[in-house]
């Protein structure tokens, strides 16, 4: 098999995930796009490992071992990420990452010294759940 096929597919999948991370607004959809990017890297690792395991004399199968590690780390990442998203949702009442602008600079409505969330429904929700 030509090595360009898996490499090109991996590059395209990575860029699809990149678009999703940049363009999506829901935090869980952003996590899905991150999964796509990680899978693109996995495909690259597997393809190059298969190529090198036939081309080289001795191989450690490092590509496949790294792929397994990436899969495990992605599973841990999705668990932690979802826990963070759920905690944010419980406190703010939204998982919309465009509205979570507390640390943004030059954003007026909720400055750094007002600890209450800015928008009305979110504040009510935070008080209700706290």
């Amino acid at each position: 098999m030509h090595l360009a096929y898996p490499a090109v597919l991996s590059a395209l999948l990575f860029c699809t995930g990149l678009y999703g991370v940049l363009a999506r607004r829901n935090a869980i959809l952003v996590l899905m796009s991150v999964e796509l990017m990680l899978n693109a890297v996995n495909l690259n690792l597997v393809a190059f490992d298969v190529w090198l395991s036939k081309a080289a004399e001795e191989t450690l199968h490092s590509g496949q071992a790294l792929t397994l590690f990436t899969i495990a780390i992605a599973a841990a990442e999705i668990g932690i990420g979802l826990a963070i998203v759920l905690a944010v949702y419980r406190n703010r009442g939204t998982s919309d990452i465009d509205k979570l602008r507390d640390t943004a600079e030059g954003h007026e409505p909720d400055g750094p010294d007002t600890d209450a969330p800015a928008t009305g429904p979110a504040a009510e929700k935070a008080e209700a759940t706290a």
Partner: protein
């Protein structure tokens, strides 16, 4: 025999009339594995594009299943069987289920949600398009004359993967288990209620009440035994 090997044998039978050696491979005479890879790759890429562009949140998670399953088939075609089944188990089996649960718990709207994409959509499209063009150009230019040899024993069979993992990669493997444990503890800590005190007093009070009731019941039962 693996799927890839059978496809490869098929391709070898069909292409022995035209090509005999590995040097005479080319873009214009794709083998059966390449055609299968291309078709599955198109499906995978299409599913990924739908995943990042659809406005229905649950449909995005379901199209992600198609994309990840397509990648598992690509691993099979690359003779990496163990990775393929791990992919099916972990991604399709657990990660997508976790994502669906996350969508459910954040009360994601069923049906079309008009604000699924943010305002910087065209900037994101520009960045992604530029990155795709650059990466594809560089990759194709770099590996134009490189072929993967898929004949012979599978490079990623369970035996080969396990041997390399437990001969050469034992220490990272064990470190990974510590990392998974840390992630587990972290997820539990993150998803506990913020006011742990109020939550802690109520169940302990209930538990005390339960033990007291159990003690009283045991006392009455022992009294009845003594009376008998």
């Amino acid at each position: 025999m693996t799927l890839a090997a059978t496809v490869g044998n098929l391709a070898a039978h069909t292409t022995t009339t035209t090509t005999t050696a590995a040097e005479s491979q080319g873009f214009l005479s794709p083998t059966g594995v390449e055609i299968a890879f291309l078709l599955v790759g198109l499906v995978t890429f299409g599913a990924a594009v739908v995943t990042v562009t659809t406005r229905q949140l649950v449909h995005a998670a379901l199209w992600l299943v198609v994309a990840l399953g397509g990648l598992a088939v690509e691993y099979l075609l690359l003779t990496a069987e163990f990775i393929a089944w791990v992919q099916v188990l972990i991604y399709v089996g657990s990660v997508v289920v976790l994502l669906l649960f996350g969508l459910m718990l954040t009360k994601a709207p069923i049906g079309r949600s008009p604000d699924a994409d943010s305002g910087n959509r065209w900037a994101a499209l520009t960045v992604a398009g530029a990155a795709a063009a650059a990466l594809v150009w560089v990759v194709v230019d770099a590996f134009r004359t490189t072929w993967i040899d898929l004949d012979g024993p599978a490079a990623g069979s369970t035996e080969a993967t396990g041997a390399s993992l437990f001969q050469n990669w034992v220490l990272p493997f064990e470190a990974l288990s510590v990392l998974l444990l840390a992630a587990l503890v972290g997820a539990i800590v993150l998803s506990r209620k913020a006011k742990a005190d109020a939550a802690r007093t109520a169940p302990t009070a209930g538990a005390e009440r339960d033990t007291r009731a159990a003690l009283a019941e045991r006392d009455t039962r022992s009294d009845a035994e003594g009376a008998r």
